[in-house]
């Protein structure tokens, strides 16, 4: 937490990406989405769920980092968002484990 004391560290005057960059990112997102949807039609067996999860996380990360500017903005924002995500994932992972979700589905 103490790093938050450095007042103007990477704040406000950062360069936002160009519109062109945004479009490239959107294109990338579209391609990943197409790949995700493709798994519905093309059977890839046991690799399916891990593949889907990886693509989901990548998309999530890209939107958060670029469109939500976390890449360029203060670490404080990232900290709050990551705290929420990590807490949610770990708590609900344990929650589902107690319900034996992973073994009995």
């Amino acid at each position: 937490m103490s790093t938050s004391e450095t007042t103007t560290e990477d704040h406000e005057d950062h360069e936002h990406p160009s519109d062109q960059k945004y479009m490239q990112i959107a294109l990338l997102l579209a391609v990943i989405t197409a790949a995700e949807v493709a798994t519905y039609f093309v059977h890839i067996g046991a690799a399916l769920i891990p593949t889907l999860m990886v693509m989901m996380v990548v998309k999530f990360f890209i939107v958060a980092a670029w469109f939500m500017h976390l890449r360029f903005d203060s670490k404080m924002f990232t900290r709050f968002f990551v705290a929420g995500i990590v807490l949610a994932v770990s708590v609900y992972f344990i929650f589902l484990t107690v319900f034996e979700f992973w073994t009995k589905g």
Partner: protein
């Protein structure tokens, strides 16, 4: 207000003009001042505390003798449910909010919170929710499924009255208040510290309240979902807890306790913070191991997320889960132990002054420790299987909640009363208050350990003679009335002290030789808080401005409190203007609730009030140069059209 002669044209042109302050009730309902909101929180919470106390007395009357007839079984369910709901959500949490609102800005050297109007909204929404839940007494019966509302008992089948609807919607409303307030105070603590006030120069109370706000931010949405599931099940026939269709009622228990265990620390940490201010002041020593204090508070907050299923050892969650949660529960005793140790070490070798706040603080240390120890006995799951759902559990959580929280809050009342109202509470009555409360408390809840181990179940409305429950139940009931007497002494103290102080000059700047920043302002705190925002150089800034060391390392006074304290006469301090809209927004919410329960048409006025107030809020001029804050600033005209603070 009326002597203001400025005409409309000179005021900033917004869609809506803002109310002006002044004195009287209108000032209180439109206020955005964190201090007034803190006082409002305190007054409303004390009111609910008394209601919850009366409910407790009814419970104890019913249980005083075997086959009690004071309350019927149905009424008993309602009363013990509302006792829990009222004490947790309408008394303990808002009392902590009262301290948080009043003291956080002062302790970090700010003039107000980050979002003053949202702060007012939090209070009014809390009050609306509290009144809404209690309306159920008049509109078809109070909630009767316990404060924990376990499914499927909370469903329509087992609880057909509208009580649990009021529970689900009412707690949702107070939840909004808690969440908004938590976000507001989080931003305040991070963003509005005085120059030099780094995070690790903040007083322990502010630190503990900061941890509480973070816990609220992350825990409130969980109870929100649980309450939505309950509400949808009851209102729209959703099947979240319908076992006939394969649903699992344990879903509720998990969601409730994922929220509920952080909630335990939401309740206790403010009290820990309060006594961490009181004990050093009256031991005349700095707090022992400040960093340990802070980090153990953070650790408690963090670990509080990993122990929820220890409330569910008897619900059949499986041996692996039980073992894991048993272990994590034992670990969480460690940071709490660290705190107790640090308070003891703070007192060690100090020149202790046993004033009323200090007595209550020592009460917390001793009584909470008893409750903590019985808590560790539940962590051992084989023992817990025997204890669960008996009075042993009731004894345990009252030792931590009453012994830990209520004693702590009373320590806070006595300590900061001069700060808030400018006069002291009567010291002698305060000491009597403490001893009566301590005796009554132990008489009430001490015997419950025995009753529980003898096998008396909790939540039952009566018991038969011949199990050996009679004597201890009678003692507990007498104890409950002794507690009531102690609260009465407090209320009399409040009135007598206020009467005595009338016409007298304020109590002076530093009645306790205190340590932290809030005491730099005069007592009572002026509307603008600080004449000049101080630059902070050390932890216990106020103390260090009064005391220094000479060549031999002896502590010597370098300045009197009068020299250090500001005189509160600054003029031209720019403060946010009052607003009607937080109150109007809050009034809309109970209508939504009543509409969902009784007649959907009632949601219409609710929705109109909410939407109108939100848009009016946004388009309200950001400030009013003719505002109510004394001598005003003709030079501050940088008024923009739209309020930027949401």
């Amino acid at each position: 207000m009326s002597e203001e002669t400025t005409t409309e044209e000179q005021r900033p042109l917004g869609v809506y003009t803002r109310p002006k302050g002044g004195n009287g009730w209108r000032d209180w309902v439109t206020t955005v001042d964190h201090k007034k909101i803190g006082i409002l929180y305190g007054a409303a919470a004390l009111f609910f505390f008394i209601i919850g106390g009366i409910e407790a007395l009814l419970i104890r009357l019913q249980l005083a003798t075997p086959n009690g007839t004071v309350l019927g079984a149905d009424m008993y369910n309602q009363v013990f449910t509302m006792h829990g709901v009222t004490m947790i959500f309408l008394a303990a949490m808002p009392l902590a909010a009262a301290f948080a609102n009043y003291l956080i800005p002062l302790q970090i050297g700010a003039r107000d919170v980050a979002f003053p109007r949202l702060n007012a909204m939090s209070f009014w929404v809390f009050l609306a929710g509290g009144i809404f839940i209690n309306l159920s007494w008049l509109l078809g019966g109070a909630p009767d499924g316990g404060w924990f509302g376990y499914a499927p008992n909370s469903g329509v089948v087992f609880s057909p009255s509208v009580g649990m609807d009021f529970y689900a919607i009412g707690l949702q409303i107070t939840g909004i208040a808690s969440l908004v307030s938590a976000i507001n105070l989080t931003v305040t603590i991070l963003n509005m510290r005085a120059p030099g006030m780094t995070l690790f120069k903040m007083p322990v109370l502010t630190w503990m309240l900061f941890v509480v706000q973070l816990l609220l931010v992350f825990a409130m949405p969980v109870i929100a979902v649980a309450l939505f599931l309950l509400m949808f099940s009851r209102q729209f026939g959703a099947n979240f807890f319908n076992t006939e269709m394969g649903a699992d009622p344990l879903l509720w228990q998990h969601l409730f306790w994922i929220f509920g265990h952080p909630e335990v620390y939401i309740l206790i940490l403010p009290s820990f913070g309060i006594i961490s201010e009181v004990i050093p002041t009256f031991s005349r020593k700095p707090i022992f191991g400040y960093e340990f204090m802070v980090f153990s508070g953070i650790a408690i907050g963090f670990m509080g997320w990993g122990v929820w299923a220890h409330h569910m050892f008897a619900s059949g969650i499986g041996p692996l889960s039980v073992a894991a949660f048993s272990l994590s529960t034992m670990f969480i005793a460690v940071p709490t132990g660290v705190k107790i140790l640090n308070w003891l070490a703070t007192m060690w070798g100090g020149r202790i002054k046993f004033s009323a706040p200090m007595l209550f603080a020592i009460g917390v240390m001793s009584m909470f420790t008893i409750g903590g120890l019985s808590g560790v006995t539940h962590a051992l799951s084989p023992a817990d299987t025997q204890q669960t759902d008996t009075y042993y559990i009731v004894a345990h959580f009252h030792y931590v909640i009453f012994g830990g929280i209520i004693f702590g809050l009373f320590a806070g009342f006595f300590f900061w009363w001069p700060k808030v109202f400018g006069h002291m509470l009567d010291e002698k009555m305060g000491k009597i208050n403490f001893w009566v409360m301590l005796i009554g408390f132990n008489m009430t809840f001490g015997p419950m350990h025995v009753l529980g181990l003898q096998g008396m179940s909790r939540r039952i409305d009566t018991y038969s003679p011949g199990f050996g429950f009679e004597a201890w139940n009678m003692v507990a009931t007498i104890g409950a009335f002794v507690i009531a007497l102690s609260v009465l002494i407090f209320l009399i103290n409040v009135i007598v002290s206020a009467k005595r102080a009338k016409g007298q000059p304020p109590c002076g700047p530093d009645p306790w030789d205190a340590r932290s920043l809030e005491w730099i302002t005069p007592n009572p705190t002026p509307e603008h808080n600080f004449d000049e925002v101080p630059t902070v150089e050390s932890l216990d800034e106020f103390w260090h401005r009064k005391w220094g060391t000479d060549e031999e390392g002896q502590i010597v006074r370098v300045a009197t409190a009068e020299e250090v304290c500001q005189d509160g006469t600054a003029t031209g301090v720019h403060l946010p203007s009052p607003s009607y809209w937080p109150l109007i927004f809050a009034i809309g919410l109970p209508f939504l609730g009543l509409g969902l329960i009784f007649n959907l048409w009632l949601t219409l006025p609710g929705a109109i009030l909410i939407v109108t107030s939100l848009y009016a809020w946004i388009f309200e001029p950001v400030d009013d140069p003719d505002g109510p804050h004394g001598e005003h600033h003709a030079d501050e005209k940088e008024v923009s059209e739209e309020a930027s603070d949401v």
